[in-house]
Amino acid sequence: MTTSNEAANRPAVVIDAGTSSTKFGFSGNVEPNYIMPTVVGLDTHNLAKTTSARSSTPSLKDLDYLIGDEALANTKKYSIHHPITDGQVNNWDLMDKYWQHCVFKYLRCDPEDHYFLLTEPPLNSPENREYTAEIMFETFNVAGLYIAVNSVLALAAANPMTGQGTDFLTGTVVDSGEGSTHVIPVVDGYVIGSSVKTLPFAGKDVSQFILNLLKERGEPLPYEAHEVARVVKEKHCYTCSDIAKEFNKHHLQPEKYCQHLNGKTSRGKDFSIDLGYERFLAPEMFFNPDIYTSDWSTPLPEVIDDAITTSPIDTRRALYKNIVLSGGTTLFKDFGRRIGRDLKNRVKERMSKQVRQTESQEIEVNVESHHMQRFAVWFGGSVLASTNNFVKSVHTKADYEEYGPSICRMNALFRN
């Protein structure tokens, strides 16, 4: 019999399912083994509801589906469905299918032999956790399951070595991926739900903005313009300290600051475009949103400040002290530094207006940048799942059979 002890000695499976992409792999590794889009491609002739869920005779066509990149590459035969929207699972049938392929086709492991660590967005409903537990224990027979809040994992990723007690689980997470940007204050591993703030733009808007700028200037864009914009965003953008000065620099010494992007299209044609202002203007949309949209004007540092000042008063210093970046859109050069500087100025200004300023200590503002930012959540999961405390906190199959899916409503924090 597979005892839980055996599963504890094996690496856990860590699956971080996001709106646009899912990172999954085995704990103890530095990088996720797979990163693929969170999409399921179903056979178009086999429309989900009519043949599979309601008919009494299951057909083998149920097994005919693809996930991730493979699904996107075969859109002629398979129609694309998204199991997750806005961080929440909206279709459990699709999510079940997605997990099946993750486990059996890509990770190729026996789920009976491993503990699983899944992530959920902050403010996920307990019912969703129960659904997840039902699928994981009943369908997959996993040895154990732990559901962690993704922002807490991002915090754990920022300082994995100082994992003593829960002190290291206090901080503000700035999470910006492809689909959404959130600012989430976390105290002792608990999310302060009422203070979570959201910005209406993220990675895909940055790409769109770059595309708009390039089009406006009339650059000879190839057919795959979106792909080009993505490359520009990932490889050539940086955060500047002062937008007016930066414009001046580019204007005076274009040969020093302008770059060229050469490449080949998928049809084999060469193309070459010039890159100028968009290199620093694109990340600037987080600091001056007016340049991109008229619907939103609060810059990111101000949103962070709002999130912290609406949190309980005794936690604010700690939240200022540990601001952690997570997600691909926070990877711009000096992004963290700029946030730190703007935030510091804001806080200083507010403090100087206070009447009894002599009595108050200066507030320490600290923005952490680290090289695991891109898969911070997954990496945090990988680190936590390799600790001994994980084994103690995980809900085992035996627990599930004794108490039912409600045990997964609560996921105890790791404590020493």
């Binding site: 083994n33 066509k61 005919d64 059996f104 190729r108 032999d113 009943e138 027979n141």
Partner: protein
């Protein structure tokens, strides 16, 4: 393809080595550092290591389940089959890495072209199939060459508590799987699935040439003796609770080296194949339950309570 066939390649191994191959072909002097540990089904582990300063070296280690020894002659088989791709591209290190049964050192500088690189990555990721299927491949090759004689059934273990029994006969080889699942529900589904599997094979015209298979509730006669005399045989708690599945392989099924390879691998991964189908069936059942619950909720939402009876305002006199 609707069935999930377990591929011989391990995609993580393939892609990780491919990154290094690409760097070497691009004449990089420094390589990305990695130390990736990944488990695979049936308690197999891989470890891929590479260092920064020697970009053309990658070390791949393989660990079989504890208590199952490496098949004899494994090192030689590995060396031979990779030498066919490029001379001296791999070397088997002895002793192997601690905690692993086999360590292969790949010398990527021997790879000349991109096609060769892709082929190499694909082949190196099949290391497990190459090693684990050695005993079965030998029996099947004997069958193909007409050297097969009737012998007692041998037990080939591929997971600590899972085994298959292989009984060579003069004209065929019988492979028997005792089916055991921890979970009672899984075992029930497995019985159902396997009975259906055998039935389909019997009745479908287009499967006439595939190996015949049968489902038994009790150990088939061919292997009974072998199971009794074998000390490593499954006993007690591990007795088959899902019956026995047997396949008869004839020489026409294994008349080329490729076929031997593919048959051996399919036999070795038969368990994973069933396991996946059981999980998929359970997923299907759950999705039907969810749909049903939604339907009932719809009905409930539509239903309105009947309006309460009003007292008539006028009084009707009786009589």
């Amino acid at each position: 393809m609707s069935h999930l066939q377990v591929s011989q390649e391990n995609a993580v191994v393939r892609d990780t080595v491919a990154r290094r191959v690409k760097a070497v072909l691009g004449k990089a002097t420094k390589g990305e550092v990695f130390d990736v540990k990944i488990p695979e089904f049936d308690e197999v582990y891989y470890n891929i290591k590479a260092e920064k300063n020697v970009p053309h070296k990658v070390t791949l280690s393989l660990a079989l389940p504890k208590g199952i020894p490496l098949p004899t002659g494994a090192a030689q088989v590995v060396k031979q089959s990779y030498d066919a791709l490029a001379a001296d591209c791999v070397g088997v290190r002895s002793p192997s890495e601690r905690g692993y049964d086999l360590t292969v050192e790949c010398d990527l500088s021997k790879i000349q072209s991109e096609e060769q690189g892709a082929l190499f990555c694909s082949k190196i990721s099949m290391l497990r199939s190459l090693v684990q299927c050695i005993p079965l491949r030998k029996i099947l090759t004997d069958l193909n060459q007409g050297k097969s004689t009737e012998k007692q059934a041998t037990c080939i273990r591929y997971k600590r508590k899972r085994a298959m029994y292989v009984k060579p006969l003069v004209d065929s080889v019988v492979v028997v799987f005792p089916v055991h699942f921890e979970d009672e529900n899984d075992a029930t589904l497995a019985v159902n699935f396997l009975q259906h599997f055998a039935e389909t094979k019997r009745t479908q015209q287009n499967l006439a040439n595939s190996p015949s298979c049968a489902y038994h509730l009790n150990p088939p006669l061919e292997v009974q003796e072998g199971m009794r005399s074998d000390s490593t045989a499954l006993s007690g708690d591990d007795k088959a609770n899902g019956g026995y599945m047997s396949f008869s392989l004839f020489s026409r099924h294994v008349n080329t080296a490729d076929k031997v390879d593919s048959v051996a691998w399919k036999m070795c991964t038969f368990y994973s194949f069933i396991s996946y189908h059981i999980k998929a069936s359970k997923g299907h059942i759950q999705s039907r339950m969810r749909t049903k619950a939604d339907d009932w909720l719809d009905v409930l939402a539509k239903a309105k309570a009947a309006p309460p009876k009003k007292q008539p305002k006028t009084i009707r006199l009786q009589g």
